[in-house]
C-alpha cells in the first residue's frame, strides 16, 4: 500500500459527501470560467487592438460624422503612413436579431490598416472593382451560408432604403482573438446614394483609422491631428485603437467589474465548501489520527494525508469543472445572439487561474484540520468519541 492509495481511500470514505463536494467545486469552476470568458470577450477588442492604429472620431460623440475632406489633411501630418475610414451602417439583415458589424470602408486602404483579415488576391481585386461589393468574415459567412457571388439584402435604418451588396470575398482572421464576424462594403457606394437622396449627409465618414509607423509617437501624432481641427465645426478626438476600445469597455466597466468580483467570490465559495468538508472529515477521524500518531506517524505524514486528501478533492473538482467548461462555453456561445461577442473563447489564463486556485484552495482547506491534528495530544485523541 502506498501513501497515495491511502489518501485516495480516505478521500472517498464518505462517497456521497465527497462526490457532492467535488460536484460543488466543479460547478463553481464552471461558473468562474464562464464569468472570466465573458470578461475576456468584453475586453477582446482591447486585446486585439493594434498600437499602430489611431482612431479619429468626432470630439463630441462617436455618433457624429467627420468631413471626408479631413482625409488629405490628416495624411499630411508627419508620421502618418495611411489614412482609411469607416462608416457604421447599421441596417437590418434578414431580421432585427441578426447582429454583426456592417461598415462602409475604403477598399483601397482597408486591408493595409487591418492586415489581420486575410483574403486571396483574387478576392481583393474583385472586392475593389465592384462598387456594390462587400466582404464578410468567415464566421458570418458560415452562419448565413454565404458564398462568393451571393447578394446580401439589407434594409437601411441610419441610411434608409433597401441595399444590395454582392459578396466578393470571405476573410479569415489571422488569430482567434480577431473578429471574424464583420462585413465591409464600399463607402463610395453609400456616399453616391447620399448625394442623391440626402446631399446634406454626403461626403461624410464615420471615423478615420490612421496607420502610423512608430507606435511610440501615437500620443504626439494624436495631439497634432486634434490640433489641426481645433475650432472647426467638427473637432476631433484621436486615440489609439486600444484606448478607443477601452472607452467602449469602460462605459460598461461597472458591470465588468462586478462580474470580475463575482468570479473571485466563487473561488471563496469553493474554499468554504472544501473547508467545511475537510473540517467535518478530520473531526470524525480525530481518533484515527491519534492512532496513526501513536504508531509513529509524524507531522509530515499527517500533512501528506490531510493536504493530499484536500488536494485530491479540489483538483478532481477543478478537472471536472474545466472539462465541462469547454462544451458549456461552446453551447453558451451558440445560444447567445450571434455577434454579441465576436470573440468568445476560454483564455489560457482562465485555465491557469482555475487550476492554481484549486491548488491554493486545497492547501488552505487543509490548514485547520492539519493544525488540529498536529496540536492534538494522542491521549486526548484516543479518548475522543465524537
Amino acid at each position: 500500500m502506498s501513501m497515495t492509495k491511502l489518501i485516495v481511500k480516505n478521500a472517498f470514505r464518505h462517497t456521497l459527501r465527497v462526490l457532492l463536494t467535488i460536484v460543488g467545486i466543479s460547478v463553481a469552476v464552471v461558473a468562474f470560467g464562464m464569468l472570466r470568458t465573458v470578461v475576456t470577450a468584453w475586453n477582446s477588442g482591447v486585446a486585439a487592438s493594434s498600437p499602430n492604429r489611431l482612431i479619429v472620431r468626432q470630439a463630441v460623440s462617436f455618433i457624429f460624422p467627420l468631413p471626408y475632406a479631413y482625409k488629405e489633411k490628416i495624411a499630411g501630418i508627419p508620421g502618418v503612413s495611411t489614412v482609411s475610414w469607416l462608416n457604421w451602417f447599421g441596417g437590418t439583415y434578414i431580421d432585427k436579431d441578426q447582429f454583426f458589424a456592417r461598415q462602409g470602408c475604403d477598399p483601397e486602404t482597408l486591408l493595409s490598416l487591418y492586415p489581420e483579415y486575410k483574403l486571396t488576391s483574387t478576392e481583393i481585386s474583385a472586392f475593389k472593382t465592384d462598387r456594390s461589393a462587400c466582404i464578410v468574415g468567415i464566421e458570418t459567412a458560415k452562419r448565413y451560408g454565404l458564398k462568393i457571388g451571393d447578394i446580401m439584402n439589407m434594409e437601411g435604418d441610419i441610411y434608409p432604403g433597401s441595399w444590395q451588396f454582392t459578396v466578393k470575398g470571405i476573410y479569415t482572421p489571422r488569430s482567434k482573438t480577431d473578429d471574424a464576424t464583420q462585413m465591409f462594403f464600399h463607402w463610395e457606394y453609400l456616399n453616391e446614394r447620399m448625394k442623391q437622396d440626402d446631399p446634406t449627409r454626403a461626403d461624410q465618414v464615420g471615423y478615420y483609422v490612421v496607420k502610423i509607423n512608430d507606435p511610440s509617437r501615437s500620443a504626439e501624432i494624436s495631439l497634432k491631428i486634434d490640433q489641426l481641427f481645433k475650432n472647426s465645426a467638427a473637432e476631433t478626438k484621436t486615440e489609439t485603437e486600444g484606448q478607443f476600445q477601452q472607452g467602449f469597455v469602460s462605459s460598461s466597466g461597472a458591470i465588468i467589474g462586478a462580474i470580475n468580483i463575482m468570479s473571485y467570490l466563487i473561488i471563496g465559495i469553493i474554499l468554504l465548501v472544501l473547508c467545511n468538508t475537510m473540517i467535518m472529515t478530520s473531526r470524525e477521524r480525530t481518533r484515527e489520527y491519534a492512532v496513526l500518531k501513536s504508531l509513529g506517524f509524524t507531522g509530515g505524514h499527517l500533512f501528506a494525508f490531510i493536504a493530499g486528501e484536500a488536494l485530491t478533492i479540489s483538483m478532481l473538482g477543478a478537472g471536472i469543472g474545466i472539462a465541462l467548461l469547454i462544451p458549456i462555453v461552446q453551447g453558451f456561445e451558440s445560444f447567445l445572439p450571434r455577434g454579441w461577442f465576436p470573440v468568445f473563447i476560454i483564455e489560457t489564463s482562465t485555465y491557469i487561474l482555475a487550476g492554481s486556485s484549486a491548488l491554493i484552495v486545497g492547501v488552505i482547506a487543509a490548514i485547520i484540520p492539519l493544525y488540529r491534528a498536529l496540536t492534538m495530544k494522542i491521549v486526548d485523541g484516543l479518548r475522543f468519541t465524537g
Binding site: M1, M3, V291, L292, L295, G296, F297, K377
Partner: protein, 228 residues
C-alpha cells in the same frame, strides 16, 4: 541487570480549567524483560494514564521513565514517535482499525514507516496475520469481521513491526467470553513463545489471572504486593 521498564517517583497531574488533579502520585514500578503484567484497579485510579506514559504517548509531570535504557521523558516529539514505532505495540479496547483499509492494509500501516521493501512488507504482514490465525481474512474490511477478529487484526498490526513491549488497554473489554479467551491466549503466546513484554490494563480478574504478575492501583499509586 536492570529492569526493562523502570519507573521511579512518577507523578502525573492534569490541569482541568483552573483545577489541578493528580492522577499518579510518586509511583515507582519495575517491569522485567519478558514479564506479563496486569494492571487492575477501580475506574479513575490512573491505569490508562500509567499505560500511556509507559507507551510514550503521554508524558510524566515528574519522575523518570527508563525503558530499555532510554529516558523517554526527555525525548522530543519526533524522537518519541520514532521510539514508539520501534519499541511499542498498541492494542486498544476498541481495536481502532482504519475502516477503509483491509485487514492486510491495516497491519501494513506501521510498516510504512520502515525501510522494508514491498515484498518484505508483504511477508511480514502475512506472518503477523497467520500468528493471529487470520491469514484467510486478509482482504476483509473491519466491518466484515467480528469484534474478536478485529482485535486479532489489531494485535497483528502491533506484532508486524516486531516491538519488544506490548501495551493493551482493556483488550477484552468489548468482547464476549469466547473471543476474550482467544485474545488472552494470543497474548500469552506472544509472551511465552516470542518473549514479548506485555503490560495489560484490565477490569476482568480472569483476564488478569492469565498474566504472571498483577499490580493493583488505587488513587494513583500501587498497592504493595501481597496486600491485595
Amino acid at each position: 541487570m536492570s529492569a526493562l521498564i523502570s519507573i521511579s517517583h512518577l507523578t502525573k497531574t492534569y490541569k482541568r480549567e483552573k483545577q489541578e488533579i493528580t492522577v499518579l502520585k510518586d509511583l515507582s514500578i519495575d517491569i522485567e524483560q519478558g514479564d506479563f503484567v496486569a494492571l487492575m484497579g477501580p475506574s479513575g485510579s490512573g491505569k490508562t494514564t500509567l499505560l500511556n506514559i509507559i507507551a510514550g504517548i503521554d508524558r510524566p509531570t515528574q519522575g523518570e521513565v527508563m525503558i530499555a535504557g532510554t529516558n523517554i521523558g526527555v525525548l522530543t516529539e519526533t524522537e518519541l514517535a520514532k521510539w514508539r514505532s520501534r519499541h511499542i505495540g498498541f492494542i486498544f479496547q476498541f481495536y481502532n482499525l482504519i475502516p477503509v483499509l483491509t485487514a492486510f492494509e491495516n497491519v501494513e500501516l506501521p510498516l510504512m514507516l520502515t525501510p522494508l521493501s514491498k515484498s518484505e512488507r508483504r511477508r511480514q504482514v502475512e506472518l503477523a496475520l497467520s500468528v493471529v490465525g487470520l491469514a484467510d481474512r486478509m482482504d476483509h474490511y473491519p466491518r466484515q469481521l467480528s469484534g474478536g477478529q478485529e482485535q486479532r487484526v489489531a494485535i497483528a498490526r502491533a506484532i508486524a513491526s516486531d516491538p519488544d513491549i506490548f501495551v493493551a488497554d482493556e483488550p477484552t473489554g468489548d468482547l464476549d467470553r469466547v473471543s476474550a479467551e482467544e485474545i488472552l491466549t494470543l497474548l500469552e503466546r506472544l509472551n511465552k513463545e516470542f518473549g514479548k513484554t506485555i503490560v495489560m490494563v484490565t477490569h476482568d480478574p480472569s483476564a488478569a489471572n492469565r498474566a504472571r504478575i498483577i499490580h493493583h492501583l488505587e488513587k494513583g499509586d500501587l498497592i504493595p504486593q501481597g496486600q491485595s
